[in-house]
Amino acid sequence: MEATGIGVWGVPLAIFAGAVRVSTPFIFVSLGEAITERSGRINLGLEGTLVFGAMTAYGVAVMTLSPWLGVLAAMAVGACLGLLHGFICKFPKVNDIAIGIAMMQFGLGLAFFLGKPFIQPAAPKLPAIAFGAWSNLPQIQAALNINVLFLIGAALALLLWWAFRNTRVGLILRVVGDSSDAARAMGLNPDTVRLLATAAGGALAAIGGAYLSLYYPGSWNEGISSGQGLMAVALVIFARWNPIGCFLAALLFGGAGALGPALQSVGVTKGYYLFYAAPYVLTLVIMVATSSPTRSLAGAPGALSITK
């Protein structure tokens, strides 16, 4: 422990670094899901979109040697999967949740099928910015080496928060999500708005996948996702459909996930596996604590099928 030079301070530092590292996919998926849900539809298929995005980004990065082209390609296929979900949900009597689960399995299966050739080759990684260059402690340098996608995600959360109030698109999205009838009375077509919102949500979720395969852990294999796409849906509800809330929830979740490895690094050897469950336990506890059987969910979009 003396060798590290910062002792127990390594724990909060590792949690911070872990929060940044682990939260990035959650940020993108939950922001994407926030857009979709604000329009009054749930896309549970984002787990499939995430994995498919991871595969696409990796494959394109391997072939073009440009990680950013990989990200763009992932966004494109993510948007396509979103469009497919939105298109199917346009038909009457189609349940968006059931379609989401089908889309999730479809995305996973297709990604594993098409991704077989990319398990071996190595792809170029996404860049990070070294905010810790001023320090000569390797731990601080490592912790402050912040990936660019995280910064983009933070900016995007702010942008979305602002856009929901101050832009035409944002207001239209909220109108459609709150009341299909009011939207129709205004001459808006709720199905079209939801179709586009689902596509945008899919594109963002695929960026989360690109981060997984191109930055951390930074390789493509079938076990790349550990349910980030599904947990992000829970984060959106926990964040009450607020983009900044999504960002903070993702950070909290990432931080909790880093607890196990951080404790292990300072020499806690017993029971640290239990801490790997911390994010899930935390989510459960928070969901239970902030929900109530006698009161409806504040801030929920009125047209969402789970709030009806």
Binding site: R168, L171, R174, V175, D178, A182, A185, T294, R295, A298
Partner: protein, 514 residues
């Protein structure tokens, strides 16, 4: 051109309309038969008629939702073709619906701005707010625009709907039963302001209504529809309420209320609610009922604006909402289980019976059997359904309560609102009834159904049932109840015997002035 979209009301004059021989056929059914009405600019015109008389068909033809089979529409004396609601808007015609079309989670200002035809991609709120407040200064209404619409009172929402139409430059407004969710005071306030605008020539109004006192007080002229034809029209000053009622229903005989039997002074309390406390729908405020007693053979009316805890109270009584305190029926604690309900002869008629008291896709016969299907003839638990008995009983009830249905085997959702309500009454009022809890039984029903349903409830009262009647319609409570209790903000705030009741005092308590 964005600035030019918002006009002060005086800068555009009111728009007058006239329908000439307007006819609308759906297949072989004539919904509207050569109806000609004239609404000159700057007047307040009332449109009366029963459900299905063709009021909404006429209005939808004017607003471009329907294309009339024949006949024409004139706007300011010129014939126009209205192909869609958009065309109607371009001619300055607007409509305020019975149900609110504002988006609940958006603020008033957001609702107004997003409803415009051209919204800038990025909204400059400081500029918009300045413009909105300048616009609001020209309006007689005073509404906070910076709060989410869901936080506004019903009267404020209704005013905001009207403001929205004026903001969009509409100067002929159809108001579809605009006061159905307002207190008497809110309704008078709102209609008075609208009336003022018509007198100043800023607005023309066509109001669909069934409240004669509003028509008499605020409208200049009235047109009455019956079964798709114009059955009468004239200046309000020259017509009495009886004349208008005759035009509306023709010579149909309405069911009459039984004479009210006096409540005997030693009538036993059937329902007692003591110190009940339950969270309301939002979970933020509790509803608190300290003491509510309903005796055998009386109707206790609960007045109040919707959303002041009536629904929660009825849920507590139905066992759908857990509460602290005691609900006592016939002297014993009551937990609203099926056994207790049956033992005490408690019956329920919730609001919106199709959603709250029926299984929509099950047949009329099955729905009528909900209270009895699990009882064998000797009163023990039944194992097998007695299909033949159920059918026989259903047929008898359908005849007895005049439920109009294609067959007892039709799904109950296929029935009209009045007939669903009759079917539920048939189920709940057959057999012994000691306690009857009723919520808004006549909402949205026509004259004959309303008269019939009120007569049935009165009959149950005279037969000795204790009746708790929750209603948003004060006229109904004044007609039916022995005592009226006002509920406001989750509490019972005022009680009066109906024969000494003063509508103004009740209204003030409903509005929270107590």
């Amino acid at each position: 051109m964005i600035v030019g979209e918002i006009h002060a009301p005086k800068s555009i004059p009111a728009v007058g309309i006239e329908t000439v021989e307007m006819t609308m056929r759906f297949g072989s059914f004539t919904a509207l038969d050569h109806v000609s009405i004239k609404v000159p600019a700057g007047t307040f015109h009332a449109l009366l008629g029963e459900n299905g008389a063709g009021k909404s068909t006429l209005v939808k033809c004017i607003m471009g939702f329907y294309h009339p089979t024949s006949g024409q529409l004139q706007v300011d004396g010129r014939e126009v073709t209205i192909a869609s609601p958009r065309d109607a808007a371009a001619h300055g015609l607007g409509m305020v619906y019975q149900h609110f079309t504002l988006v609940p989670s958006l603020t008033g200002a957001e609702n107004l701005v997003i409803s415009r035809a051209h919204v800038p991609a990025i909204i400059n709120w400081s500029k918009e707010k300045k413009r909105l407040s300048a616009f609001m200064e020209t309006m007689p209404f005073d509404i906070p625009l910076d709060r989410p619409v869901s936080e506004l009172a019903a009267g404020e929402k209704q005013k905001l709907e009207i403001i929205k139409q004026l903001y969009l430059g509409r100067r002929f407004l159809v108001l579809d039963e605009p006061t159905s969710v307002l207190t008497p005071a809110e309704a008078d306030d709102m209609l008075g302001l609208v009336r003022g605008m018509t007198e100043r020539g800023e607005l023309t109004v066509l109001m669909i209504s069934h409240k004669f006192h509003e028509v008499t007080k605020f409208a200049d002229a009235v047109s009455v529809l019956r079964r798709g034809t114009l059955s009468g029209t004239g200046k309000v000053s020259e017509l009495s309420a009886a004349d208008m009622a005759a035009m509306m229903i023709g010579d149909v005989k309405l069911a009459e209320l039984d004479t009210r039997l006096p409540v005997s002074p030693d009538a036993l309390p059937v329902l007692a609610v003591k110190k009940v406390k339950a969270p309301d729908r939002t979970g933020l405020k509790p509803i608190v009922i300290d003491d509510l007693v309903v005796r055998s053979g009386e109707i206790v009316g609960i007045a109040g604006i919707s959303g002041n805890g009536q629904k929660e109270l009825s849920e507590v009584l139905a066992g759908q909402r857990t509460a602290e305190g005691a609900v006592i029926v016939k002297g014993k604690p009551y937990g609203a289980t099926r056994l207790e309900t049956r033992a005490n002869n408690v019956r329920f008629i919730p609001e919106e019976p199709l959603n709250n008291a029926c299984a929509q896709k099950m047949t009329v016969t099955e729905n009528l059997a909900f209270r009895t299907f699990d009882l064998a003839k000797d009163g023990s638990d039944a194992i097998w359904l007695d299909a033949r008995g159920m059918k026989k009983r259903a047929t008898a009830l359908i005849t007895d309560f005049k439920v109009k249905t294609a067959s007892p085997a039709s799904p109950i959702a296929a029935l009209s609102g009045g007939n669903v309500q009759r079917a539920v009454l048939a189920r709940e009022l057959s057999g012994e009834v000691d306690l009857l809890i009723v919520s808004n039984p006549c909402f949205g029903l026509d004259f004959s159904a309303v008269a019939e349903i009120r007569a049935r409830i009165m009959k149950a009262r005279n037969a000795g049932a204790a009746v708790l009647l929750m209603s948003e319609d004060l006229d109904e409570l004044m007609e039916m109840s022995d005592r009226i209790i006002v509920m406001s903000d989750g509490k019972l705030v005022y009680e009066t015997p109906t024969r000494e009741a003063d509508v103004a005092v009740i209204g003030a308590h409903m509005a929270g002035h107590h």
